[in-house]
Symmetry: C2
Subunit: 316 residues, 2 copies
């Protein structure tokens, strides 16, 4: 049940847990049920926060924290492993009101990279910090650290072995199955937008590889002038396509609505470069758009006017 | 003298060596003459390359290499120093034909970061690599490495001491004087565009800070659909503004010409966020645009139809 907060205010929250090929696994059904349950719980918590007058920035951060904490997704605990069998995590967050942003890359011991990105937004003179410098910043601000082993799950060890066996180390393509980057976009009752994204990147990726989830304008963008966007998929292509900013730019400069803009970026711009993935977006009227050119995109949305929706494949 | 190559082909090259406040120094005039001489030599070499049918991608890489090698600019040798008295270098390059790109951040031992960015574009499955991973990639491909001391000049040691004395360590603002990021944009006789940018970032910056020069869409962007752009200035703001992509997006989606788009991004979008800096851009007709809201922008251009131009302040 969603309590109405500010009453007359409209709000919306959309989330994703990655886009990719459908996994063919023995436990596929049980896993899908787990995923749906987590996504529904995240929407429920977000709806409470937003309907009570909470900010979009808080809503996207909290949603992403919950998705990072779940081992089901490729972010925080459960992130995919790089060529050194380590999780190296990227995250970014943007406030559509001020265009303030925080981004971190190649983080290895911060439990919730999205909290570090928020801290960069709030407290750093910089917008984007990578590697040891990002960890040092986390240290100085007392953010929770974990042993790198915290992030590693048996499933991701298997994924890495599979990737190596199939000789994918020279390819930047996501391994089979959803890539599982997580993200959230929100509109709050104050009329403000925000977006957040967090990921472990690609299985077997090179040390130091930075994906679109750490790049403002690529994986994450928010502006009250247009919309909030979070992307997932083949990060190299999303960087080249400046995918998240392009959804917003198509609204701002070409007058498209959020759904048309989202579809154009995924089905023309990203697909035109050979990229696969998806994105979620929300505009200032609370209209939510999903676009993906993969078999599945783990996703959900809830608004002041609509009950929670959770979907996995096209049939939902 | 510029030799005409492909004859009927049009080509253009624009370069910059940073934008900022005018330095008030005893040797200002001698320094300005040195800067003009280097910029003119870079234009001359670029004109030879482009008029002989060379590619825009080669032209921007070679121009930036020469600017990195000069100790006058904040890139390669002569880069500013971070809080640990080290140079940490960012660079990126983009091919407007294919939208292929390469970007590196927090590099400490690669003599020419722009060559590493080009190598990432050509040879890596990834687009963006940071820190030790980027150095490892340079190693595997035999790129020239140097001792970190190579980058350090006496002038930048003084800049760092000045910044510390004035307590600027908590501010992301550039120190007095031009920031000196370098960049190049080009159109070749084949009708292709490219852009490249390289920098040491901000004096006294935090370890691991990534600026706009490493971010495709922020400091660097090129697309044959619109233009090639390289930015310089307060990098945090240029990231939030997705400045380079926005020049291109304003052309592509709003139908602006390159000069109007460049001016709007600097004087409205960047300035609106409190940012200072400038950019250079070139479109497929070889029209060059400069825009800056600082006292000076070290800059130059040459085209098939116009003799080399070098400018420093507004009066040039």
């Amino acid at each position: 049940m969603i309590a109405r907060g500010a009453g007359e205010g409209i709000w919306a929250l959309a989330i994703h847990g990655g886009a990719g090929a459908a996994r063919r696994e023995a436990d596929a059904e049980a896993r899908a049920a787990e995923i749906r349950a987590v996504l529904a719980a995240v929407l429920d918590a977000g709806a409470r926060l937003l309907s009570a007058g909470g900010t979009a920035l808080d809503a996207v951060e909290e949603a992403v924290v919950r998705l990072e904490d779940s081992p089901l997704f490729n972010a925080g605990r459960g992130a995919v492993l790089n060529e050194r069998r380590e999780a190296e995590l990227d995250a970014s967050i943007m406030d559509g009101t001020s265009l303030e942003a925080g981004a971190v890359a190649a983080v290895r011991t911060v439990k919730n990279p999205i909290r570090l990105a928020r801290l960069v937004l709030e407290r750093s003179p910089h917008v984007f910090v990578a590697g040891d410098g990002a960890e040092g910043f986390a240290d100085r601000h007392g953010l929770e650290r974990v042993d790198p082993a915290y992030f590693v799950t048996e499933r991701r060890m298997r994924d890495l072995e599979d990737a190596r066996r199939s000789g994918r180390n020279d390819r930047a393509a996501p391994t089979g199955g959803e890539t599982g980057t997580v993200g959230a976009v929100a509109l709050d009752v104050h009329g403000n937008l925000a977006a957040a994204t967090s990921t472990g990147g690609l299985t077997n990726k090179s040390v130091g590889r930075v994906g679109d989830s750490a790049v403002i304008g690529a994986g994450t963008f928010a502006s009250n002038a247009s919309c909030a966007v979070s992307c997932t998929g083949h990060g190299e292509i999303f960087i080249r396509a400046t995918a998240a900013r392009d959804v917003a730019a198509l609204m701002e400069y070409a007058g498209l609505d959020v759904e048309t803009a989202a579809a154009r970026v995924i089905h023309e711009r990203v697909a035109g470069l050979g990229g696969e993935g998806g994105l979620i977006a929300v505009d200032r009227r609370g209209r939510v758009a999903f676009a993906f050119n993969t078999d599945v995109m783990l996703r959900g949305a809830v608004t002041h006017a609509s009950a929670p929706f959770v979907g996995i494949d096209r049939a939902t």
